[in-house]
C-alpha cells in the first residue's frame, strides 16, 4: 500500500548516491517530475512567501489588494493576535493524533497480526477501514454535527443522565473538534500501522517471551520498536493535515468561535477579508512550525535506526 512507502523514505536516501552516477538518462527521466514540481510547488511557494511579506492596500471599498514589500510585521502578529489559534491548532492536532494512535494501533495489530493466515478477512477489514472515504469528508463531518447537534438524542440523554449540564452542549466544544479530527484521520493512521504490523515477524515476539519478557515488556521492548516506521508515518500523515485543518473546527461543522484553529483564520483572512499578506504570512508560519516539529520528531525517534 502506498502509505507504507512513507515509512521507508529514510532508507531511500542511501540509494541517491548510486543514481547520481547514472547521469543523463536519470535527469531526462526526472525532468517531467521536476518541471511539475517547479511549476506547481516551488512557484506557488515563492509566490506565497513573497505575498506574506507584503502589505494591504485598498483597491476599492469592497476589495483589498496588496503591495509587495518586506513587512516582517505580518509574522509578528502570529505571536500576539493569533497565538491562541496557534496553540489550539497544535494542541488539538496533538491530542487527536494521540487518540487516533490509541484507537488505530490495536485495530491494526488485530488485522495485521492476529488475523494472519486469514487473508480474506484481513482484506475485508482493511476495506472497511477505508470505506468512509467513499463518502465525502464534508458530508461525514456534517453527519457528525447532526448527531452531536443541540437537539439530538445523544445530547438529550447525556443531559438527562447529568453528564452534561442543562445548558451544556457538544457542538462548538474542543471535544467536538478533536473528535471530528480523530474520526476523519483514523484511516491515515490505521493503514501505515497495518502495513508495518502485517510484516512484523512473530518470531521476534516469541524470542522476547523466551527471554523472560512478560507480554507487556514484549510489547514495549520488541513489538513497539519494530513497528515504529508505521507509528512515525501514521502520526505524520495525521498530525500534519490535522494542524492545518479548517473544516472540523469551523462554525459550520463541529466548532464555534472558541475553537477556531489557524486554518479557520487563514480561510477567513483570504476569503472574507481579502487580507492576502496576513493570510499568506499565517500559512507560511504554519508550514514552518509544522516542518520544525516534524523535523525534531523524526530526528528524536531516530528513524535511521529503523529497518
Amino acid at each position: 500500500m502506498a502509505f507504507g512507502a512513507f515509512a521507508h523514505s529514510t532508507s531511500d536516501i542511501k540509494h541517491k548516491n548510486a543514481s547520481q552516477k547514472t547521469g543523463k538518462i536519470a535527469w531526462i527521466l526526472l525532468a517531467p517530475g521536476l518541471a511539475y514540481l517547479a511549476l506547481f510547488f516551488l512557484a506557488p511557494l515563492f509566490s506565497l512567501i513573497a505575498v506574506s511579506l507584503g502589505s494591504i492596500e485598498a483597491v476599492s471599498l469592497a476589495n483589498q489588494g496588496f503591495r509587495y514589500g518586506f513587512n516582517i510585521q505580518n509574522f509578528a502578529q502570529l505571536g500576539t493576535d493569533y497565538l491562541p489559534h496557534v496553540i489550539r491548532s497544535f494542541s488539538y492536532a496533538l491530542i487527536a493524533t494521540a487518540a487516533a494512535l490509541l484507537i488505530s494501533y490495536p485495530l491494526a495489530y488485530f488485522i495485521g497480526v492476529k488475523l494472519r493466515g486469514r487473508p480474506l478477512l484481513q482484506r475485508m477489514l482493511v476495506t472497511l477501514v477505508i470505506a468512509p472515504f467513499f463518502i465525502s469528508f464534508l458530508l461525514r463531518t456534517l453527519a457528525w454535527s447532526q448527531i452531536f447537534s443541540n437537539e439530538s438524542w445523544i445530547v438529550h440523554e447525556l443531559q438527562t443522565l447529568g453528564l452534561l449540564a442543562p445548558d451544556q452542549y457538544i457542538i462548538g466544544t474542543p471535544f467536538a473538534v478533536v473528535f471530528g479530527l480523530t474520526y476523519n484521520f483514523i484511516p491515515f493512521m490505521t493503514l501505515p500501522l497495518y502495513t508495518t504490523l502485517e510484516k512484523l515477524d512473530i518470531r521476534y515476539l516469541e524470542a522476547g517471551a523466551d527471554l523472560y519478557a512478560s507480554p507487556r515488556k514484549v510489547f514495549t521492548k520488541v513489538t513497539l520498536p519494530l513497528s515504529m516506521p508505521g507509528v512515525i508515518s501514521g502520526t505524520l500523515l495525521t498530525f500534519i493535515p490535522m494542524a492545518g485543518d479548517y473544516v472540523n473546527a469551523s462554525k459550520n461543522f463541529l466548532g464555534s468561535a472558541h475553537t477556531q484553529m489557524l486554518g479557520n483564520v487563514i480561510e477567513s483572512k483570504y476569503i472574507s477579508e481579502h487580507n492576502m499578506p496576513i493570510a499568506s504570512a499565517l500559512s507560511v508560519a504554519l508550514m514552518a512550525v509544522i516542518l520544525i516539529i516534524v523535523g525534531v520528531y523524526v530526528k528524536r525517534t531516530g528513524s535511521e535506526d529503523l529497518l
Partner: protein, 374 residues
C-alpha cells in the same frame, strides 16, 4: 532463579504429551525423559513433530493434554517468560533494533540481573564475538548471528537450552566447526541441551542420546552408536544412515540365529539382534559392513552371502566409493568401500557376490515399504 547457584541443567520430563492442531495430530502421546546435563537430540524429517515438541517445552504452544516437568516441577501451565528455558531459534530471531550486546543483555535485563552489560560482554567472549558487540545483528554473517543467538540464550544460564536446527542455515564447513564448538560449550557449561535437527550426522556427532521421531512419535531412542548399530524399525534404519533391507519368512532357526529365505538366498540374523523371531520379517545391514567379491567366495556359517549380481553404478565420494549392485529377484544393494589405497578396483557391469557377517545383521520390528537400497 538463584544466580549464585551452580551452573547446571535440570532434567526434563514429558508425560503423555499430545498436541493436536485442527485437522491433524502433531504429537501423539509422547513420553520422554532427559537427564540433567545431557546433550539430547530429537532427530526426524520435517513435519515429524520435533519442532512442535520444542515449542511445547518452550511454552510457545500449549499441549492438548499431558504434563511437562522441569527439574521435577510441573511447568505445563506456565508462560514462556516464566520458564527457566531458553531457545536458540532456527532463524536466530535476533532483535534487529538492538545492538549485538543489547540482544545478549535482553534476558538479563528482563530478570533484573545486576550488571547485564558486563555479563553480556562475557557471554560474547565465550563465543569469540566481543569485538562485534556494537554492531547490529543484520551486519553479521550467518555463523556470527548463530553464535550471538547462542550467547543470548546461554547468558541466562537456563536449566534447559533448546536448539531448533540452529546450524541449518550455515554452510557445511561452518556447520561442522559449529558442531564442535557447540559440543565444547555444552561440556564446559554443563547445561541440559535439547537439540532438534533433521541432520543425522549432526545428531550422532553431538548428542549423548538421540531420539528418532516420525509422524508425531518417537520411533527409537538411545546412544548414537546403539541406534546406528541396531535400528529397530525400517524408518530408523533408513533415516539414520543408510541400510540394505531384505524381507522374507523365517524358515530356519537354531540356538542363536534365525534365517529368512530371500529369493533362494539364506540371510541370517542373531536372535539377540532381531525384534521379531517369527513370520515375515525384515533383516538389514549397513552398506559399509557389506563387501563384494568378484568370484564366489567360500564362507563359513558366520557369513551371509547373496549373489551373483551386477554393479550398476559407482559413485566416488572422496573417503569412499559407493557401489550400487543389482541382484536379480532381490533388488539394489548399496556397498561402501573405503578408499584406503587398496579399494576393490572394478567397473560397472562386473559380476559380484555380496557378503557380510551375520553378527552385523539386524532384524526389524516392522516391514519397509521398499525392500533394499538406501
Amino acid at each position: 532463579m538463584n544466580q549464585n547457584s551452580t551452573f547446571s541443567g535440570a532434567d526434563l520430563e514429558l508425560i503423555d504429551v499430545r498436541k493436536e492442531f485442527p485437522g491433524f495430530t502433531a504429537l501423539e502421546d509422547m513420553d520422554l525423559k532427559i537427564p540433567a546435563g545431557q546433550f539430547f537430540a530429537l532427530l526426524g524429517p520435517s513435519g515429524c513433530g520435533k519442532t512442535t515438541t520444542l515449542r511445547l517445552i518452550a511454552g510457545l504452544d500449549e499441549p492438548t493434554k499431558g504434563k511437562i516437568l522441569l527439574g521435577g516441577k510441573d511447568i505445563t501451565n506456565t508462560k514462556p517468560h516464566e520458564r527457566p528455558i531458553n531457545t536458540v531459534f532456527q532463524s536466530y530471531a535476533l532483535f534487529p533494533h538492538m545492538s549485538v550486546l543489547e540482544n545478549v543483555a535482553f534476558g538479563l535485563r528482563q530478570r533484573k540481573v545486576a550488571d547485564p552489560l558486563a555479563k553480556a560482554a562475557d557471554a560474547l567472549k565465550l563465543v569469540q564475538l566481543e569485538h562485534l558487540s556494537a554492531r547490529r545483528p543484520q551486519q553479521l554473517s550467518g555463523g556470527q548471528q548463530q553464535r550471538v543467538a547462542l550467547a543470548r540464550a546461554l547468558v541466562n544460564r537456563p536449566s534447559l537450552l533448546l536448539l531448533d536446527e540452529p546450524l541449518g542455515a550455515l554452510d557445511l564447513k561452518l556447520r561442522r566447526e559449529m558442531q564442535i564448538e557447540l559440543k565444547a560449550i555444552q561440556v564446559e557449561v554443563g547445561l541440559t541441551f535439547l537439540h532438534v535437527t533433521h541432520d543425522q550426522e549432526e545428531a550422532m556427532d553431538m548428542a549423548d542420546t538421540v531420539a528418532v521421531m516420525n509422524k508425531g512419535r518417537i520411533e527409537q531412542m538411545g546412544a548414537p552408536e546403539a541406534l546406528y548399530d541396531r535400528p529397530k524399525t525400517a524408518f530408523v534404519a533408513k533415516f539414520l544412515g543408510q541400510s540394505n533391507l531384505f524381507i522374507g519368512n523365517v524358515e530356519d532357526e537354531n540356538a542363536n540365529t534365525i534365517s529368512i529365505n530371500v529369493a533362494g538366498n539364506k540371510i541370517s540374523v542373531p536372535k539377540a539382534r532381531a525384534e521379531k523371531h517369527k513370520g515375515k520379517i525384515a533383516i538389514g545391514v549397513r552398506p559399509e559392513k557389506a563387501f563384494f567379491h568378484e568370484e564366489e567366495p567360500k564362507l563359513g556359517a558366520g557369513y551371509n552371502l547373496i549373489g551373483p549380481g551386477e554393479i550398476i553404478d559407482i559413485r566416488f565420494t572422496g573417503v569412499s566409493n559407493q557401489y550400487l549392485i543389482d541382484i536379480p529377484k532381490i533388488g539394489e544393494i548399496t556397498v561402501f568401500a573405503q578408499n584406503i589405497g587398496k579399494s576393490p578396483v572394478t567397473q560397472v557391469g562386473q559380476k559380484v557376490w555380496v557378503s557380510w557377517k551375520v553378527e552385523h545383521s539386524f532384524g526389524l520390528s516392522d516391514l519397509p515399504e521398499k525392500t533394499t537400497g538406501a
